[in-house]
Subunit: 420 residues, 2 copies
Amino acid sequence: MSLLVKNATLPSGKKSDILIEDSLISKMAPSITARTEEKIDASGKIALPGLINTHTHAAMTLFRGIGEDATLHDWLAAVRAVEVKVTPRQIRAGSALATAEMIRSGTTCFNDMYFFMDEVAEAVQESGMRAVLGYSMVDMGDVGKRKSELKICEQFIKDWQGKADGRISASVPPHSLYLCSKELLAASEALSKKYSVPLHIHLSETRKEVFDCLSAHKLRPVPYLDSLGLLSSRTIAAHCVWLTKEEVRLLANRKVSASLCPVSNMKLAGGAIAPLPEIQQLGMNVSLGTDGSASNDSLSMFETMKFLALSVKNARWDATAATAQQMLFAATEGGAAALGINAGALAAGKLADIILLDARAPNLVPAHNIAANLVYSAHAGNVTDSIINGKVVMRERKLLTLDEEKVVERAQKEAERLVA
Amino acid sequence: MSLLVKNATLPSGKKSDILIEDSLISKMAPSITARTEEKIDASGKIALPGLINTHTHAAMTLFRGIGEDATLHDWLAAVRAVEVKVTPRQIRAGSALATAEMIRSGTTCFNDMYFFMDEVAEAVQESGMRAVLGYSMVDMGDVGKRKSELKICEQFIKDWQGKADGRISASVPPHSLYLCSKELLAASEALSKKYSVPLHIHLSETRKEVFDCLSAHKLRPVPYLDSLGLLSSRTIAAHCVWLTKEEVRLLANRKVSASLCPVSNMKLAGGAIAPLPEIQQLGMNVSLGTDGSASNDSLSMFETMKFLALSVKNARWDATAATAQQMLFAATEGGAAALGINAGALAAGKLADIILLDARAPNLVPAHNIAANLVYSAHAGNVTDSIINGKVVMRERKLLTLDEEKVVERAQKEAERLVA
């Protein structure tokens, strides 16, 4: 498979052609002549590395609109009421819907932890997307449950690691320090190390989590996880809101990646904004996540970039505290680094995960500062094309891998069944 | 002109046909049979009243991307550097660009204060949009300037009030208490009363404004404006961030409308979130604004709804502190009430300002809670059709009133000249 993208505009304003051979970008230059199987004229379009969503629960699209504008207690109750009865068939329907939404909004890769993960993987396989998937483990201190959770998690790794032309990789996701015992957390780290796959965990999302951890373990969440050996360059810590500067320093020293999810945090009224300036100063890798649709409710990474930058600026009374360039980096290179994937940049040798946006959309004009336009003015509807692993999955806003009408209909039907 | 919209889905989930005769909605019912000049099949679409943006500076689209991620001081300097040399031709080009962006993002009416307003009015006239426009007055205490400013403002009212089939109305906008003398403020109120048109003013946007006012006048901004007789049901106060509860009470008692602009406030790192819960409790009318593109940078009211709800929830540690229904109300009925316009609702007798959204877009599925989907998951790209004053201005995402390619090209060219 070879593909030539002509005349794309880069965020720097420079023009470039992009030559893709198989799954990789093989050349970037102002003018490339090559015989390729396919050509895309990207005149009047901006090319970006595909956006990487490092924390979500794709299947939760089926719960979008459930428990809205309710207290955290009522929201949790509403979501759990449907979560306990959700079927594998529904997980598949919700995941397929999520892939359609993500492709449309410029996301080419996502990091997911949930359950019935074979269904999620099959949806990913079909969609053409790239994803890091893991079975989210919870034992609440129950020994039998711990063993069975670890077994399911490991089986998923064996079944799916490297599948779908390498688009799917596996992770080990113990849910959180409050739903997992010390033993499960330690065993998770061992499993992650054994298979050299990411360890994905919720961390310091709420005040309650911090105070409960202090009360139970006499340690704040970060030193607690560190005491169990859980912090390494394989670790992706989702949320990272309620952190002290010392905790940020420890995470940075251990080379943990943050997945910041500002929209979810604000929607659930957590009350804080992640300490992005300290995270950046201390050299911790930053990536971005939307979290699941039940707490966002969109899966748009464009929205997430804008929310993070603006919430940090406002919280610090400092408009320089977060920049458009930092957001773009976090949504691309930062995400790739977090997941250990050779993507996130437009350069020869990188995986060909590329999106195109309509540079002539009125909201992206004029072109004084394209990076700022992308972060502060772009929306999902500006994305016209998506290439993942060298294959075109969306062309001029038409999804090529999915029968979108069917995906939408099925999701709607399954969602109705769920609340019937 | 008559138009029948068939099978639209309302935010309640109910289906309705909408009959439009001339500029008005003449009937809403589950099934209407009528011979009309035009028909729109809205099966699979959500119908909403057109969104009303009650505070913006449309022409500033030409400055989008200037002064990004800079301190307020540097941002102001960067914006002023271009503002002092902007030409009428450029104001026209920027305003036309803004109308294209606003129509595409579901806005049917906006409230604008700026200068070279004849150019803005002509762009509005051509676009088919509805707008309340006024010449923004600034005297800095200079008597001669005051007289000439009032003259320009009054002339604009005489020239444009009720023009463009009633789509354009005029306002009196003294810029703010810090750029206008007491005398100009008082004269503005007299002018607003004389013509029965809205008085549009920036109010309590920054801490500095509050402390400077206290220092200069020994009164906080709201009592200061009240002492000059400026607060009435004709008043639209843009921003309303740094208010005490007593000030909110006074504004509510005087029947002033708030135009909340959360995106601009956060982007400029003002440091606070408007006191929406108190504003609602004390019965003050709430409407929403994007502010200009130099400080947002998009003109999407969908974004503004989400930012306001989420920032208030997070600031108050209370997910019930702002709801999707409240946001939709503020963006439609609240806006219409603020501007004194017979729009903002889908009902017989109201002006036919209506937008349709693609209910089958993956990010708007499933339909558990359509209002929440609209506020928390919709983006500008979901808007497919727009009807303003009974006329279709966008059909299946194609603009019918504007030559969009030309508008975009001209804006880009004029923006380049501006910074050359």
